[in-house]
Symmetry: C3
Subunit: 271 residues, 3 copies
């Protein structure tokens, strides 16, 4: 067996399998949720997995709690690896509630964030306020991700309303629209209480969405990721992915994991 | 939009929201369980989250397994960030079983631990032995945290007995009393088999506890933390928090997360 | 209380409790699944826990996604700590499907992997092909771990077939045989849909296995680990252990955790 210094796994596989897009990509985006990684862990993650991460969200209002120097360094690191980064939507909602959207955008910009998430997962917000926020964030130089869907099942929206929000947000200039899945993926929008995809709701949404490549499905657990990849292919946009799951998700996408290998590869006869 | 180098998120929010106490604090303590973090991860955690961590427990008997130099360095690091640190109660129970409490306390002191946990979650221990251990640990210069509640549901104690233990421990000089929640928060003391809070038991305990600020509720998962914050406010003492959840818990406490934002902020009219 | 610079926890305990074997050990092996740890986390893990880790598997096909320098460094680090390391079996299955087993083994060897996992968890593979792969991997200088059990419950094999595979693989030269447990430990081989051990199937397997010390049970969650330790003792071989759980598992093995303390220690009278 001859040693060959330049051998890599890419020679072993017909790679990428199944038409997975490379970065910068138009679809198949992975958005990671960071609930408070330290600086070394964050650097570790980027060093290993940056080619498979398109967005990092610093979840909820956690941005507030970091020592300033560490927050700046995390943002700088993400950008140096060509990963977009933004603060969680709940923080935006609090800023709006407090009447400080201007200061919120100014601070986010000064810190180096590249995107803003605009959501009303918890608070009530009129359509007018929402679209004004989209315009204001764009004018301030940010990419914009809006989110549709309520966090609390008691507030659940109809498919028609969800669709009209998705289309409206895209027309108003949102780069991407996230479909709420929370951290649990249970009992929210397309997921039932046990985390299984509600096929009827998903089908309704798919029938009405005009630009699927600009929709990101929050899919925090493997079962959600697997279900959506089986349904929508390896280049579905997925969000709220745990930092430690990025390579495992990539394996799922390209069929290097049992669950998707079975279907994404044409199983050759082995005998 | 004017850049301002000194802008921080604190300017954006009326912060802290909801009267969250700052460190050193009399209530609203967060106790983290460390199941075996490496040195870099541990330093990362403290660097990012020390202002939100009051205690770190090296869970179970894991203290035994560390290379000596790493264990010492972890303890030194925690103390340098003003975080108290102690070995898990099961280890104390084993020391008592082996008749080596003296050596246990001596070793813990020499290593630099600042607190001792005194529990009988697994073994049987008479009231006399328990209170003698509290006194002995205090005499050796440690802060003392006792724990009430059995780990095995077959051994469950009555509310009356739990209350008498909590009061007795506090009177005997325990700085804090932990209510057992295990790593799962399922089927133990105040949690039912699915992890929901048993309202009747919690109410009984709350009615009888004299010094609530010196009780720490083990609340390993978000559902437990959320339920107790909704019930007891942002300054409830919570334990067995996962290292990666500290900032997310802080967001829960102050209403920067959907679940608590809804109730902890007076929702202003947005139109 | 006299300070003693050389005091360690080993003096406090009669250690190891319950006859736990030390490394290199013939039984009681722990195999960790790594889903994509960064270099610092990986080094951290080894620094703290290498004495308790016998194997690290880079799960699924994640090996493909690492930057080459980082993958090489991870493999080098594992070996420097006397930990064997191998790529996940699904990746092997893809290589076989693509007719590139030779190149797969050559690349694995050039990268420094010490073991090869041979599985058919997802694809169909004849007995002839399987045993030829075992021989080929051994001839290339690798240790060999085979895996039995299908990932998909629809493909479940009978106990008789599992046993004949285990015995056949061991006779053909496999160093170890893994019993499939997946990442979930639910609804697969010895685990039911809720993750509890199916006693009847486990008993059948135990009755038929000739060399139990060369069988590794995938046991991803604490409930699986605890059940198997209670059933088979502290020196059972366990696999798919999460990196962050290694010290907690070691505590379970030796009775330094409530669940096993109760039974593995003879509970002395404390009064």
């Amino acid at each position: 067996m001859q040693e060959k210094a330049t051998t890599t796994w890419k020679d072993v596989l017909e790679f990428p399998i199944g038409g997975r897009q490379q970065k910068p990509r138009q679809a198949g985006l992975t958005m990671v949720i960071d609930k408070g990684l330290g600086l070394t862990e964050f650097r570790d993650l980027l060093e290993v997995a940056a080619p498979y991460i398109d967005f990092i969200k610093l979840g909820f209002g956690t941005s507030v709690f970091y020592p300033a120097a560490i927050l700046r360094e995390k943002i700088r690191l993400a950008r140096s690896y060509n990963v977009d980064i933004f603060p969680g939507g709940t923080f935006f909602e609090v800023a709006v509630l407090q009447g400080r959207l201007n200061l919120y955008l100014q601070t986010a910009r000064e810190l180096g964030y590249t995107f803003i998430e605009i959501s009303d997962g918890t608070i009530d917000m009129s359509r007018t306020v929402r679209l004004a926020a989209v315009r204001q964030a764009r004018a301030a130089g940010f990419g914009v991700i809006t989110e549709v869907g309520k966090k609390d099942p008691r507030d659940a929206l109809s498919e028609a309303l969800l669709l009209s929000q998705i289309t409206g947000d895209q027309e108003a200039g949102a780069d991407y629209v996230i479909v709420e899945g929370r951290e649990s993926g249970q009992g929210v929008v397309i997921y039932d209480g046990r985390g299984a995809v509600k096929e009827d709701i998903l089908a309704s949404l798919l029938a009405g969405i005009k630009d699927l490549d600009r929709v990101i499905w929050e899919a925090p657990q493997k079962q959600h990721q697997q279900a959506l990849i089986m349904r929508l292919g390896p280049n579905v946009n997925l969000g709220n992915v745990q930092p430690g799951d990025v390579l495992a998700l990539e394996a799922l996408r390209v069929g290097l994991r049992g669950d998707t290998l079975r279907t994404t590869l044409k199983v050759a006869e082995v005998s």
